[in-house]
Subunit: 196 residues, 2 copies
Amino acid sequence: MLEQFKKYIIDNTGLSENEYKELEHLVYSLEAKKGTVLLKENQICNKAFFVCKGMLRSYTVDEMGKDHIIQFASENWWIADRSSFYFDEPSELFIDVIEDAEIVYIHKEFIKTAEKLSKNFVSFNTLALQKNIRQMQKRINYLLAATAEKKYLDFIETHREITYRLPLQMIASYLGITPESLSRVRKELARKNFKP
Amino acid sequence: MLEQFKKYIIDNTGLSENEYKELEHLVYSLEAKKGTVLLKENQICNKAFFVCKGMLRSYTVDEMGKDHIIQFASENWWIADRSSFYFDEPSELFIDVIEDAEIVYIHKEFIKTAEKLSKNFVSFNTLALQKNIRQMQKRINYLLAATAEKKYLDFIETHREITYRLPLQMIASYLGITPESLSRVRKELARKNFKP
DNA sequence: TGTATTTCTTATCATAGATCAAGTACTTCC
DNA sequence: GGAAGTACTTGATCTATGATAAGAAATACA
């Protein structure tokens, strides 16, 4: 786990082996079974989780008790409530494990230290934020404009590697439609002889 | 215009008067009438617009020719296609003037120079990205879960100062509903004796 | 291997919001 | 100040998606 994380950091952030050594003591790991809740609403999200194996998700729960999935994270992805983490605000999100997982996590301390160590890390972080914004922008656009079918087609396009690992109800939740609707959409696509 | 921008920068980014002097030649201004288009789909957004007076909006246009408003920007707000600006990609957005405007704009050059000049500017920029993400997160959550009425109530809550300046059809477009639906929502709210 | 649990599909009915079509009120601007 | 355009409302109808319920299929588990 820690090796995989180290490789990710060195490959992606431009930190050297030696620089990484100075951060090593700020890196923690954890194994968690499906169902484990890592963050609850109203808690302050003081960890950023990096998935080495398995799958996590973040989601909100509305007054009706329905959940709305915000993000999935599988191998080599990060997941956290960015706003809660950055602004020290209570989170509106839950994060839990949906496939047995090996997880590395860090605190703000890691980021701060890495940023002091290397300007490259600052750029890496900015890049990550920019990518995040691009992806959210696209999602907002889909939610404003697209039909259930278009949303689903876009999802399997942009999440090709993980689509087959996700229960359909979770995909439905991510798209903002009911599982029943998704089922209908898929039936209709099958009728039209659509090949995933 | 340039004075107002200077004040904004000095008040918000932690740059000194002297540091700002070194950036002054990278700041441009512009007056534009309602209807002026500042960015078109597929162009690369190489400017970030700062509104001194008036109002701009960014929006996409779908295959049906319908527009979907992504953002409004009034006094002391920025507007641009962040992804296009940062990644030099063709934009999916249009930006135009919806109320006669006085605008300041900068290119990447400004940002790069300012970041070299002061670490504070880097932090300011990160803060702006984080705030943007927080706001988008919230919007995604509303689009996933809320009814037309809830979306509208949240809008007038979070855009109190500009609500009365916007045509209802534009608010509807921002919310992802039709003007007719918005009209009905407002009628229903009036019936329930709602005071804005 | 069989039972329990979860996930997915299907069918029926209900509804929020869309669409279409007029009509009314407001702006704008010569 | 009146014509022309624009914005807003209202009504009638339609439709995509939601809600509910129940059965089928898949998976977990013991």
